[in-house]
């Protein structure tokens, strides 16, 4: 009698126990590792965006490669929110011991232009290295009567304010790259906002919007099947993925350049020995064939800058986009 009762209870208990084990193991599974000098324990790498975006994909790749080379787990942890500000702030306030790093995008330089943020992109961090760029592509719906950058500018001049350009949210890369194009070409078109790049692209494919300045990763499939017409590439040189596409700069708007970039940061005060070590490993990672391949499918170009050059670059980006933000009157407050 007593035995039977015990047995009946044990089944649900087992289920519960198994569930608990799974739930607890899930976040911890990746955090297991062993010990030496630096790193003597697993390193947290905060990715300041949600899983699945290009920053996340590249960040996870770097984390995997760093783990192999450091001999300790580098654990990627997504801390999204506030356009990246939440994750950036968290690392800025972390212990500068090399065990909390930040992988983020150009958002770190752009967010302070749009809003009050609780960090300074250069003073709160040691920018360890810039790793790559992902330039924009200027595309239009195939029905738009323009086959080149010049024709599009002419068309917009003929009907000011008429064309609709889809953007991925206020202050997003897609938005700023569109605003920069508008500003430099001296033309007027409507910019409407969507929640993210995907919906903006879908709207443009349907012809509800006419212009989309998107990342190459997102737009490449549509360009290849003719659902979007590419007019110009936003990089400093042509892309290997679309070798026939001229850069916007050579096609009629000299000096136009718009790229997302990625970099690894440590909180200010992190020992230079650690920064140097990470820089050395990143150098090898970025130059490996596998990384180059994955960067290429992400529409990105490896571009390694050390701390000094990276700081200068971040400051220059702040000046460049600061002008766009000011002229376009883009604020989030």
């Amino acid at each position: 009698m007593r035995k039977a009762k015990l047995k009946r209870k044990s089944l649900p208990m087992m289920v519960l126990g198994a569930l608990l084990a799974v739930a607890v193991a899930f976040p911890l599974a990746t955090a297991l590792g062993a010990a030496d000098a630096y790193p003597s324990k697993p390193v947290r790498m905060i990715i300041s965006f949600a899983p699945g975006g290009s920053t996340d994909i590249v960040g996870r790749l770097i984390a995997t490669k760093l783990s192999e080379r450091l001999g300790k787990q580098v654990v990627p942890e997504n801390r999204s929110g506030g356009g990246g500000t939440l994750g950036i702030e968290m690392v800025a306030k972390s212990e500068p011991d090399g065990y909390t790093l930040l992988f983020t995008s150009s958002a770190i330089a752009i967010n302070p232009l749009l809003d009050k943020v609780p960090y300074d992109p250069v003073k709160s961090f040691i920018p360890i290295a810039k790793m790559g760029n992902a330039p924009a592509v200027l595309t239009v719906h195939p029905g738009v009567q323009a086959n080149s950058v010049k024709e599009l500018i002419a068309l917009a001049k003929k009907q000011p304010g008429n064309l609709v350009c889809a953007a991925a949210g206020v202050g997003s890369f897609v938005h700023l790259a569109s605003e920069l194009f508008k500003m430099m070409a001296g033309i007027d078109f409507k910019i409407v906002q969507f929640k993210g790049g995907g919906p903006a692209m879908i709207d443009t494919m349907g012809g509800h919007s006419q212009i989309l300045v998107g990342t190459i990763t997102m737009t490449l499939p549509q360009i290849k099947t003719g659902k979007l017409k590419a007019l110009g590439f936003g990089g400093s040189a042509r892309s290997k993925l679309l070798p026939d596409l001229p850069t916007v700069s050579e096609a009629g708007l000299p000096g136009y350049e718009a790229s997302i970039w990625w970099g690894l940061f440590a909180p200010a005060g992190t020992p230079m020995v650690i920064v140097d070590r990470l820089q050395k490993e990143l150098d090898a990672i970025i130059n490996s064939e596998e990384t180059k391949k994955i960067f290429e499918v992400q529409g990105a170009e490896p571009d390694l800058l050390g701390t000094a050059d990276f700081v200068k670059f971040i400051e220059a980006e702040g000046v460049k986009w600061g002008k766009v933000v000011k002229e376009g009157n883009i604020r989030k407050e």
Partner: protein
């Protein structure tokens, strides 16, 4: 005939030992994360993405897809057993599923959820195979005005169909709309009702509200009533649905599948709206709507079929046009691109093994899920035999882990606790949280599309009437209002007079 050959080819791909194994791993992981609240398919797929670099693309995609639709199956389990929605789309299942469990009918509820999902999965596999490309083209015809009109139709229909106190329902819808406003305004980027919390700039998570109101609220109110605690232990009835249950469920399953297939194909809508719509339709279609909310099996069968249909049909725009209908689908596209495959219409021609193999694997995966889930029903139901002093803390722990792991922010856990208290307050006041959740889900989509449509038309509201698809939705809305409201008003007046 070509379709037939293609499907046979697809099955020959999917039936390879390796692909079957990956399909099984996918649906198993999917079921698990579906059962666990908060940990959604998106985060899981993102974490598993690097592993797929080293396996063939077909196998990788089969596994990732399995996780995605497997989660829709698993999500209903905790909704039914303990009023804890495992996934966004299974929130609606809490209402009648949990009531069924309290009446000792957890077994039939779980079984009908699995059966409905399987039916929906089978139908949608066929839909993708036969009509994928034209349906995706149709979805592209939806611009901001169309989305707005469609959402107006959904909200008006829901409001008209709502039962009980009209004033309370309306108040809850408005509250939902207000909660939906919290966060950055899409159009201007200005933060609304964020009170200087960066954690609120992306808005309040649906899962946070749902877990707070349903799971946390339920536990507190159960504990406050000593008689209710014993409710499960005494009665756990038959494990499988009766013939009567099956008969009652057939029509809801078919309707739910149709609704889910429609919303799933449209990018940006998805499983949550599908299951809400299906519930509303079933409530209206029922001969005795008052059974809803008290354990009507139709309220489980319809929405569960709808959310699985939507999950499956979300692959249509992704596979045929290469456009991401949701964040999870964007990840799938990312997985393809890592393997050097450009998603889009060319995939069917250039990588037929991938396209047809994946479609065939979806059906196999759905079959595996039923085989996996039906025998599990008995095991799950036995969870209810746990004494409440163990069950309730366990639910709280799972809820907290789930909420925390969504964004890795403890702020969200506190927020859920606040919603738990609010849930109690609403219960005491007799306000149903469903209209609130509906307003919360539909409101932001409506606002965003309304403003965008008017921005493009320069403030001219006639866009909603001059575009044919939008006009059709507006006309349908007016018809629904006329047909449904007139008798209701007359009846109410009689009631007052009487």
């Amino acid at each position: 005939m070509e379709l037939f050959n293609n499907l046979i080819f697809g099955f020959s791909v999917a039936f390879s030992l390796q692909n079957l194994l990956y399909c099984f791993i996918g649906v198993l992981v999917g079921t698990l994360i579906g059962v666990l609240p908060g940990i959604g398919p998106m985060a899981t797929i993102a974490m598993l993405l690097p592993i797929t670099y080293n396996i063939p693309p077909v196998a990788a995609l089969i596994m990732l897809a399995g996780i995605y639709y497997g989660a829709q199956y698993g999500g209903s389990t905790t909704s039914i057993l303990v009023n804890l929605p495992g996934e966004t789309a299974s929130v609606i299942t809490c209402i009648d599923g949990y009531q069924m469990a309290r009446q000792g009918r957890a077994g039939p509820a779980l079984a009908i959820a699995a059966i409905g999902s399987f039916f929906a999965g089978t139908v949608c596999t066929m839909i993708i195979a036969m009509f994928g490309p034209p349906l995706a083209e149709m979805a592209l015809k939806f611009g901001s005005p169309e989305y707005f009109s469609l959402m107006v139709m959904a909200l008006v229909t829901a409001a008209v169909l709502a039962h009980g106190d009209m004033l309370k329902s309306l108040a809850m819808v408005v509250l939902g709309l207000l909660l939906g406003i919290v966060g950055s305004d899409v159009d201007s980027g200005i933060k609304r009702f964020c009170f200087n919390f960066f954690e609120l700039t992306d808005g309040i998570g649906f899962v946070i509200i749902a877990i707070g109101v349903f799971a946390v609220g339920e536990i507190i109110s159960n504990l406050s009533d000593p008689e209710e605690r014993q409710v499960f232990t005494s009665k756990v009835g038959s494990l499988y649905p009766t013939l009567q249950d099956m008969k009652q469920s057939i029509a809801p399953i078919i309707r739910g599948t149709a609704i889910g297939a429609f919303f799933g194909t449209l990018p940006g809508t998805g499983p949550a709206i599908s299951s809400f719509s299906s519930y509303m339709v079933e409530k209206k279609a029922a001969r005795d709507p008052s059974r809803f909310g008290r354990g009507a099996i139709e309220g489980v069968a319809g929405p569960e079929s709808a959310n699985n249909a939507a999950a499956q049909c979300a692959f249509i725009p992704t596979l045929t046009l290469g456009i991401p209908g949701s964040g999870t689908m964007a990840l799938m596209l990312g997985a393809l691109m890592i393997h050097g495959i450009t998603p889009g219409p060319m995939v069917m021609v250039q990588q037929p093994d991938l396209f047809w193999g994946l479609i065939a694997s979806m059906w196999i995966g759905n079959l595996m899920l039923v085989v996996l889930n039906l025998p599990m029903v008995g095991v799950w139901v036995s969870v209810l035999k746990l004494p409440y002093r163990m069950l309730f803390p366990a639910i709280m722990v799972f809820s907290a882990i789930g909420i925390y792991s969504t964004n890795n922010v403890s702020f969200d856990v506190y927020l859920a606790a606040i919603f738990g208290v609010l849930g109690i307050a609403w219960r005491v006041l007799g306000c149903s949280p469903i209209p609130m959740l509906l307003g919360f889900v539909l409101g932001p989509i409506m606002e965003e599309n309304l403003r965008r449509a008017l921005q493009v038309s320069e403030g001219d509201p006639s866009v909603f009437l001059t575009r044919p698809i939008s006009l059709a939705f507006i006309i349908a809305t007016v018809l629904i209002l006329v047909v449904m409201v007139m008798p209701a008003v007359r009846k109410r007046r009689d009631d007052i007079v009487g």
